[in-house]
């Protein structure tokens, strides 16, 4: 309890202890459910409770050998990667433009660009369902990729925009004054400096698409079902341990994304600290 420097009176110490106790309980509340279902996927029995009758990989076997699950994982990857690439192009260009654009309309444009994050998923999904059905984009990969790109791009604009804010524009001017063409200046000077920001944006975009289920629910045909979509029907029908195996797969992807992001952040802080 020596962490808090301003603990002078007993009542302060009690308040601090209470903060620690409550926070610990909240941390348990946040983490325990996620940790609790992981071991169940290694159970040899088919009941989702403890104690486990024994350990086995049969549910992972089930996951890998079921075309339904494996296909959904493949679909999640295809749609996730494609919408990440598309949102990176659109989002990075827009962030570069917004950083230089000075206009009274800029807050409005920014609000518009960020609005897909705020608008409830069902509204976007219903709108897309009506809009894409007549032009044959429901039940297609392209429709889902376009929709997920719309949802993911705001995160790219935010992360890349934040990186550009700390970017010294004099460096681009210096490059230009030394004879670099705009494209050269971008590739040789700007890009390496904003690369960590781009990587974070890509991670956010991928995570957004990878976790999205409402739009998939409305728009995907049986061919395009993603992993969260398959979990949704699985949970509705009956929760088999195969779903916990799928949950472990999804969580592993999340942890990898989070760890990469944290690594990027640390690297960035180190670089900043170095200057």
């Amino acid at each position: 309890m020596s962490e808090n420097p301003s603990l002078r009176t007993p009542s302060q110490r009690i308040a601090w202890t209470a903060t620690i106790v409550i926070s610990t309980l909240v941390f348990i509340f946040l983490i325990a459910p996620i940790l609790a279902i992981m071991p169940l996927s290694f159970s040899s029995g088919s009941y989702l409770t403890y104690p486990l009758p024994g350990l086995s990989l049969r549910w992972y076997d089930d996951f890998i050998n079921s075309p339904r699950w494996i296909n959904s994982l493949k679909n999640s990857m295809i749609i996730g990667v494609a919408s990440t690439l598309l949102s990176m192009v659109l989002g990075t260009l827009a962030a570069l433009g917004l950083a230089q654009w000075k206009s009274r309309l800029k807050p409005l444009a920014l609000a518009f660009v960020l609005s897909p994050v705020v608008v409830p998923g069902v509204i976007t999904a219903v709108g897309l369902y009506f809009f894409f059905a007549p032009i044959g984009l429901t039940g297609s990969y392209l429709g889902l990729i376009l929709a997920h790109t719309a949802l993911a791009t705001p995160f790219v604009v935010i992360t890349v925009g934040a990186t550009l804010q700390s970017f010294d524009t004099n460096l681009a001017r210096a490059a230009a004054s030394l004879g670099a063409s705009p494209l050269q200046a971008f590739r040789r000077v700007i890009l390496p400096l904003i690369l960590p920001g781009l990587a974070s944006g890509a991670l956010f975009a991928f995570a957004t698409s990878f976790d999205e289920v409402v739009i998939v629910l409305f728009m995907a045909g049986p061919e395009q079902r993603t992993l969260p979509r398959e979990m949704f029907s699985g949970i509705r029908e009956n929760i088999s341990p195969t779903i916990t195996a799928a949950a472990v797969v999804l969580t592993t992807v999340s942890v990898i994304l989070l760890a990469t992001l944290e690594g990027l952040r640390r690297r960035n802080e180190r670089l900043k600290g170095g200057v």
Binding site: E3, S6, R8, S11, T19, I22, S23, F27, F29, L30, I34, A36, I37, Y47, L48, T49, L93, A94, L96, G97, L98, A99, Q100, W101, S103, A111, F112, S115, P116, V118, V119, P120, G121, V122, I123, T124, V126, G127, L128, Y129, F130, A147, A150, A207, D211, V213, L217, F218, P228, M231, F232, I235, R236, I239, A247, L250, S254, V255, L257, E262
Partner: protein, 417 residues
């Protein structure tokens, strides 16, 4: 000397050239943003505008019964319409039967008046041929006495389009009576105010739970030295990054009647019968709080991080007891963070669909559930869109307040961290 002045006069003044260069720069910047704007117009704004249009679009009846609608245009709605309207209706019904479109009008009119589908289909079935001139009124009345009722005709006239307030009124449990006045909808159709109230109540409960649970955690994270708080931050970020489906699934596994929590409590001897912890309001609130808690903790944390410890030390040195210092000095400075976090959680909670659909009972479904239901199951797209329009309006208003709040914080440095 003369040559220098001559060249200066032919050159554009520097100021104007700079202005022009700046304008070109701005145009280039705009050109970078335009692709995204166009893309979002196609994949986001356009579809939503289309949905809003469907909330007021009312052309089905007009397309199926064009002559009737034309004949009713001059009808004052006080008595039954004249023979001309009856003849037009008979013609329209015959034509619609031939083209198979009668069900389109029947579906729309049935929304406005229960049983209208039967009136229309039975008339279509029994009307053998166009009635002779002057006998249409009598012939239709004989097939179905409903055609002798004024309300049958006002229903058609109300649905004559091309736009209507019918769906939007329905979404607010309102309707129009035969005289066009807005009245309360019949009780069996008046469910949406309840649903909106429920959506609001669940969102508010979840927001308060998040605030109560999130405040101490944010305070702890903001007060601890960075090394430790970064480590503990993982407890907040890992759930934040874990799939919504995984977390919802986890709560079902934990809380179901043969789940871990009930088993644990039984094993400890606390309960004999399993408690009903899920597929009810409790389960919905617990699971939604779990999902949304990070959205509360993160803004609270950044607003607390920005509060200099010097303020609290100053308060203490001026003789304020710790509680007073906390309430008068610390808490007011966290208010923007509390506001931003609460609004964010509330806005996100309002539109929730997946979690209540999976862990809620029938009485815990929020507005999004009904929007989805009317879109995919019953295909009452007008009502789905009208409910969506109300939800969207609420979201936009709250988002505008949120924008103001966050912007204000930016000025005071609250979001610097």
């Amino acid at each position: 000397m003369t040559s220098a002045s001559a060249s200066a006069s032919t050159e554009v003044p520097l100021k104007r050239r700079l202005k022009r260069a700046e304008r070109t720069r701005q145009l280039k910047a705009l050109a970078l943003v335009v692709p995204l704007l166009l893309f979002l117009l196609f994949t986001f704004a356009g579809p939503i505008a289309g949905m809003l249009w469907r909330a007021v679009d009312d052309r089905e009846v007009r397309q199926v019964l064009p002559q009737t609608i034309a004949a009713l245009a001059s009808w004052d709605g006080r008595d039954l319409p004249d023979e001309k309207a009856y003849a037009a209706l008979a013609n329209d019904i015959l034509a619609a039967r031939a083209s198979g479109t009668i069900a389109i009008a029947a579906k729309r009119l049935n929304y406005a008046m229960n049983g209208f589908r039967t009136i229309l289909t039975s008339t279509a079935r029994n009307l053998k041929a166009a009635p002779e001139a002057g006998t249409a009124k009598e012939a239709l009345g004989r097939i179905n006495p409903a055609w002798r009722e004024r309300t049958t005709w006002t229903t058609i006239k109300d649905a004559s389009g091309p736009v209507t307030g019918f769906y939007l009124l329905s979404a607010l449990d309102l309707t129009r009576n035969a005289d066009g006045a807005i009245i309360a909808a019949p009780p069996d159709q008046a469910i949406y105010r309840d649903v909106f109230a429920r959506t609001f109540l669940i969102s508010l409960s979840v927001t308060l739970l998040c605030l109560i649970l999130g405040f101490p955690v944010a305070y702890l994270l903001a007060t601890l030295p960075p090394g430790k708080s970064n480590l503990l931050m993982i407890f907040v970020l890992l759930p934040f990054w874990t799939s919504l489906l995984v977390r919802t699934c986890a709560w079902i596994v934990l809380l179901q009647s043969k789940g871990i929590v009930n088993d644990g409590l039984h094993w400890l001897g606390i309960i004999d019968e399993p408690l009903r912890l899920i597929y009810n309001r409790f389960g919905v609130c617990v699971a939604m709080t779990h999902v949304l808690l990070p959205f509360m903790i993160l803004p609270l944390y950044s607003s607390m991080k920005a509060i200099s410890p010097a303020y609290m030390r100053a308060a203490a040195s001026l003789g304020a007891p710790p509680l007073t210092a906390f309430l008068r000095i610390y808490l007011p400075q966290t208010l923007p963070g509390i506001g931003a976090g609460s609004l964010l959680v509330f806005i996100l909670a309002l539109g929730y669909y997946i979690t209540p659909a999976l862990v809620g009972g029938a009485a815990d479904q929020m507005i999004s559930y009904f929007i989805a239901l009317y879109t995919t199951e019953t295909a009452n797209w007008g009502l789905a869109s009208a409910l969506g329009a109300v939800l969207l309006l609420a979201t936009i208003l709250l988002a505008l307040v949120y924008g103001r709040l966050v912007q204000g914080q930016h000025v005071t440095g609250g979001m610097k961290n």
